[in-house]
Every structure is written in C-alpha cells, then in structure tokens.
Symmetry: C2
Subunit: 456 residues, 2 copies
C-alpha cells in the first residue's frame, strides 16, 4: 500500500491530544491546528471536552468523518487497544509516536505490535519516533513547540532518521539556516515501515531530488543493499551511519534495540551500492545541498575566485587534498581580466581580487570562469566584510550563475551581516559554506556522483 | 622596546583618514571616534579640514600633542615619507595597514621599509595588515564597518594572523558567537614585528590565557621553534597552518611573498615544540575555548549525559575514536540516580535521560558525575527542543558546574532558540559545540595538554 497518506492525508486524528501543554500529544495537535495544514483534524482524548476549539472524542471509532491518518501519542501499554480501534474505524495509516517498546527492552510488546500490524495490514511509522514533517502539505507531527524549534520550508532534500533526537536537531537547524526540505521522516523502531520502504517511496517522490538518512543499523541488510543499489543512480542517497565503534555499538543496542554492524562492513557495502557516506550531520547536508541544487560537473577542474589571500590558499590546499584539480583558464580570458582589474589583482588560480574587491569585479571574474572550457566548477570565496564590497554582489553572483550549467559554491564566513547575505544566496539555490574544507569536499562528492552516474 | 603601546596607546594618529566612506582610513578613524576608545585621536589628511568633528592635520609633525601610535593607511609609495615624519615626531609605534609591498612583488620597497624601521628603531606591525583589536582598551584599527563585521568582547583568547582575510572572518564570527578575546593582531608581511615577538608578548600578557595563530610560514623557523618550545608549557599555543600542500605553497608565495614549508616538517616541529595544531578555523577556537575556560582533567575518562539516544551514540563513537575512555561511575551513585529517575531512563554511560528529560534530572545527573572519582570530564548533550525541558536547565548546569573542578562541555544543536541558550552558556564559561565530533576532539586536546604540562 502506498505511503502517500503519511504525507498528505485529508484528515488526521491525534490520539492522546492532551490538555497538558508539555505533553507531546498537546503540542502535535496544537501545531496541526495552528499551522497551514488544510486537512480536517480530530483530537481524541476521553478526559477532555474540547481542545483549541475542536470537539474531543473518546476514541477514533466515534468520529463520523473518514480518517486517513492517526497519530498515536498514548502510553505504550494502550497502543494496541488504540490500534484495534483504528482497524475498526478503517484507518490504514498510523504514526506511533509513543515510546516504551524494544528500545526500553520491552521486546514482547514490540513483537505483539509487529504481529498486529502485519495481520491488520495497517501501515505504521514508529513506534518511538517523531513522525513526519511535509512542508508541502504542512503536515507536522513533530512534538517540539515552534518557539523551541524552527521548521524548514519547501525544498527538495528528504531526510529519514531512526533517531528522533538527531532528527529534531537537524530539522531545527535547517529551519534556522534556510535549508529547505521535501520530507522529514523520523521512523524510530521501524515496527512496520523501515528505511527500505521509505527510500523506495522517496525515489519516486516528485518533490524529492536527494535522499538523506541517519542510520544506526539497517533492519534487513541484504534488502537494504539491493534497494539502494537499484536506486542510487536515480537519486543520490547520502547516509550518515551512527554507532560505528564497538563502544558505540553497545550504546545503539540500548537505545533502539537493534545491533549496529561494524563500520568497515557498512562502509564497503555503502560504496558498492553507490551510497554517498557522510562523516557528520553537517557534511550530510553539505553534500545534499550541492547535489540538490547544482548541475553535474564534466570533470574535476576547479577555479577559485577570492577577495582574501589566506582563504584562497586554504581552498587550494583542500581542493588538492580532496583529489580535485586547479583549473587553468585560457590565456586570452586571463589577459582580458588582467586588463579589467588594477595591477595588484592576481589573475591566475586563485583569482585574488584582494581587499578592495567590488561586486562588479566578482561578476566579471565569475563570468569568465564559467564560460571557460577549462573550468568544470567554481569555488567563490566572498569575504563580505570589506568596505568596498557592496551587498549587490549577491544579486550579481546569482544572476551570473543562473546563466551557467556549471556547479558553483560560495565560501563565506563571518557574523550577522554575512549570515543574512548567505541565507539570500542559499534561497537562490547557491550552496554556501563557512570553510574551504567543507565546500571542496562537497564539490568532490558532486564530481564523484557525476562520474558514478555516467559510468555504466 | 615593549609592544604595549600597540594595544593601549594614550593617543593615536590615523594617517590617511579619508573623507571617502569606503576608504579604510575613513572607517578606521570613524571606528576609533565612535567606539569606546578613550585616548586622543588625530586625523591626518592634507585634503580635509575636519573629520567627525576632529581637526585634520597635513602631517603628523604638525600635531602638538604627543602621539604614541600612528596608524598608516596611505598608498605604499608614500609610506616611507610618512614614516620619516613619524620619526621626526618621535612616534615609536606604527601600524602600517597599506598593502603594495612584497605581497604584490614589490620586494625593493619592502626592503627599504625594513631597513628604515631597523635604523629608526620604530616598532611596526604590518604592512599589508588589519592591525589590532583590543576589547580592553577598545583600540580598533580594523577597517571593516561595524554593520558588516561584528566585534568580540573582552575575553582571554588572543589571536594572531598573517592573513588579514582570515583575521576579519574570525573576528566577525567570534563577535556573533559571543566568543570573547584578549587581543586580535593581524600583522601581515611582518616587516618588523613577527609571530615570535607577538607570541612572546602574549605569553606575558595578563589578560591572555591561550594564544592562537593562523600561520602561513614562520619568518625564522629556528627562532620560532625556540620561542614556542620555551613558552608552550606556560600557555597553550594553538596553530592553524595555511599553505600545506604544494599547490597551496605556490598560492602562499603569491600572496604574502613568503614560502611555506611542507606540512610534514611543520607538523613534526609543532609537536616537538608542544604546539597544539588545529585542522581548521573552527577547531582552533574549539580548542581555545576549552583550554581558556576549563580546568585541567586528571585523566581521559568521560561521562556522557544526554536526552537523545542518537546523540549519545555519536558521542560515544567519537570519544573512543579520539582515544578517550568511557567513565564507569561508582555503582552506588548509579543506583542513587536509578531511584531518582523513572524506569525508562538508562543510567550507565551514556546516562540517557530520554525525550522527557527535565532540568532537574540534568542537574542531578551532572552533580553525581562531577562528584564521582571515576569521572575526569563530562560531555553534556542538551537537546533543548524537548517540550519538557525548561530553559532553566542552563542556569542549573552553570550552577552545578561552578562548584566543580572538572572540565565540562555542552553539545547542543538546533535553531534560533538553541543558539540563544548556547550563547548564555558560553557567556558563563561553558564551551558549547554543535556536534559530538568537535566537542570530543576538544576534550582530547585538553587532556593531551594537561598530560604535557604535567610531564617533566
């Protein structure tokens, strides 16, 4: 059965919609009613008359309207009763937020749950999860109050996570940064829907262009390998693996009840399946942002443009460390630029526009680099603090980049002024990085994925 | 001659204090007059009558009052004339912001400058630099407008950099983050004052507890090694080395005119001299923040406390990867905590307070960990998005940590709400990190430095 109703249901019942403000069920119901979600919402709470102006029901079976999705936020011991009601009511999709299953050692209850789901053919996300955020439908089952946790807008990166904790941090951080998403799914113990189901669904999802996963261990290793091998050429699959050392493995076992395999085994399997492996959360989204916004490069030659010598040096360092190459622009173009700039500007690779760079110099240098057949990608370093550099440079870079079919990344770091302008670049589809190391690593992964896609 | 007048002069002349708002001399003079600097300021500009209400002078020799420091922001070809005037006026300290010396290939002018400085016994920072920011005296020669570039407040980390570009980015970023400093010095081509002079000065500077340097190449390798070997046990010296690959070396040569040695040679020499080497800018300040705020640990055993299982797993992973150990708390304490918490809380290492953690649970767990003789350091993971977790947790953690003589780091990531609370922790002397990898690496460096200091 399709998973679509998890993301765009016409109606949602929140079972356990408490009146207690710190209760997850309360926050979820509140977020659904106060947000932009346009479907019908029904609170289920036998102890309350109404919540946020909505009549409360004792159980889902009492709701007259059809329910496409139930979000279950009740103590673990009554989850099966609630599921029984869901079956009676004909609900086919449920998200079980509740914890207290195998992750706390309650293997028996987990097994009962799995058996029930299998028999009843109800599709379930969870238990022990945060559920779903879909900015397109505005469905939001995340139980963190909005004031404590930012939410990303509509984009094309989808992210799945076993760990709810990692999930909320990422969601909040992406919201603040302006990194937008297609779908966020925290699927917890995976009693029914697992990483394979989700990756298959996202591979066919129109608004998803890159699939990211934080994975502690795959439920079925062989199936996971087959699914990802089949789909990794269709869309980039980026995985951050938790629990890779032996001490980490023990910790994983305690908190999701699944055993993590060794780092080496996973690393080798990922590589063979065409999966892009990230080393940390930020790197996962470095890769995702570049892969979801930039065209495929034809080769590994990078032109660096900078207004700060030290940053140019570091970028060259990291490019070569990561196995990329310094582009050699055509002499005619370099001469053209030399005539345009004052003599102290260094025109080679990097092009160093120096501390009196202007927005127009950036535009000219970027344009020549993008048009040069010896250049495959551009790393543009923008130190926006310079007195001569107008914020107009952001518009000019966006315009110039729009005409091009070559990948561009911007490296820019600083304080509040810089962060505001970086967000504006990010909104226009140009990935920004604070440091050369991260930017060049992301370009490297883009280049590798392009080569992988091209290879038979 | 002491370098003190570079940081706390009674009077400053800005030579080249232009009326043009984008001119560095304009911005510097403006920042000095509008900021909290309490010394006398004198604009030198033969083409203007007055600037921001201050009478302009044709040359420094016309100023009647004594001048302790001249900041020179004129075209390179007139720098020597200005220095001649400075000598006549009896000025003993100058900061030469102007570029156009060896970094642009003008070796002859650089040599003339060096010769003049040597003969006249004027102490100079620069040329081709940003100069000095000292939040204690409020001296600020940074030519970036305040609206484009944040400034850090009073702290105990000092930072020196050859590259002005790297310098301004760091300054701006530290300002935004609330990472405070003792002194910032961008010294450019080092025609006179070099990294050795500065490190020696900072080692005796009362408000400096940690010395950081971004270094492309040492002017005199042997001297640098001797100076740092002598001082590294007195105060931690953290270095980020630019220009470490061969392609990077060529780029360095072009932009500061000095040749960078190989990464291996520097790496080995740094290690022998007791220098802590950082791999990137963020890591340099990760180390600096921990070393400047935390006590020395007695060993390498770390207790992890978390409210998110996934983050606990990652932290354990990185601790062991970095060569630290998981602390084993005393059974009596663990049992005490078990009685205090509901049964789903996992009390071992990590202590996982789970998704319904409260501020009081954190306080209890932290207190027991800090009092436990089997624990040398604590890594506290705070996912502040949880509905049950009050922002009061910040105060409770600060209070509990204050009683202790053990290092603590906080790992906390998210969006705007989290960033505000992290800044509050940082202000109270508790270093915060977004990710386990960085936090654990910083603890590792702290542990290494403690062992280095203890060793004969």
């Amino acid at each position: 059965m399709s998973l679509a109703a998890f993301f765009n249901p016409k109606s949602v019942a929140v079972v356990g919609a408490s009146r207690e403000p710190a209760h997850p069920g309360h926050v979820i119901f509140r977020n659904l009613t106060e947000g932009d979600y346009e479907g019908a919402v029904f609170p289920v709470n036998p102890k309350a008359e109404e919540l946020f102006g909505h009549k409360c029901y004792d159980r889902v079976t009492e709701i007259k309207e059809p329910i496409e999705l139930a979000v279950i936020v009740v103590p673990s011991k009554v989850v099966l009763d609630v599921l029984g009601d869901c079956k009676k009511k004909g609900i086919k999709h449920v998200i079980i937020i509740s914890g207290g299953f195998k992750e706390t050692g309650n293997l028996e209850l987990e097994k009962k749950l799995c058996d029930f789901l299998k028999k009843s053919r109800i599709r379930a996300i969870g238990p022990n999860c945060m559920g779903v955020l879909d900015p397109y439908s505005a469905l939001d089952t995340i139980f963190n109050p909005h004031y404590k946790s930012d939410r990303p807008g509509q984009g094309s990166i989808s992210f799945i996570t076993q760990s709810g904790a990692v999930g909320i941090v990422i969601l909040d951080w992406m919201g603040m940064k302006g990194y937008n998403i297609s779908k966020f799914i925290s699927y917890g113990n995976a009693a029914d829907v697992d990483e394979c189901d989700l990756i298959e669904y996202l591979a066919s999802d129109n608004t998803t262009s890159v699939i990211c996963a934080f994975l502690e261990g795959a439920k079925e290793g062989r199936k996971f390998f087959d699914v990802t091998s089949k789909l990794s050429k269709k869309k980039p699959i980026i995985i951050l693996k938790g629990g890779t050392t032996s001490a980490g493995t023990v910790a994983v076992k305690s908190h999701t009840g699944s055993l993590a395999g060794s780092a080496e085994i996973y690393g080798a399997a990922f590589k063979q399946a065409g999966i892009i492996q990230a080393q940390d959360i930020e790197e996962m989204f470095d890769f995702a942002r570049v892969l979801s916004t930039q065209p495929m490069p034809k080769g590994k030659r990078v032109q660096v443009i900078t207004d700060g010598g030290g940053f140019g040096v570091m970028t060259v360092d990291w490019l070569t460390k990561h196995g990329l190459e310094l582009a050699q622009m055509q002499p005619t173009r370099l001469n053209k630029l030399k005539k345009l700039f004052p003599p102290h500007v260094v025109v080679r690779n990097p092009i160093d526009l120096t501390g009196d760079a202007t927005a127009e110099w950036y535009q000219a240098a970027l344009q020549e680099a993008l048009e040069d057949p010896n250049v495959d990608m551009v790393a543009l370093i923008l130190l926006l603090q310079l007195p001569t550099l107008s914020p107009k440079v952001v518009e000019l870079v966006v315009e110039t980049a729009r005409e091009s079919k070559k990948p561009i990344v911007v490296i820019s770091a600083g304080g509040r002024y810089t962060e505001v302008l970086k967000k504006s670049l990010e909104d226009s589809g140009i990935p920004t990085f604070s440091y050369p190391e991260r930017a060049t690593m992301a370009l490297k992964k883009l280049e590798e994925y392009a080569a992988f896609k091209k290879a038979k």
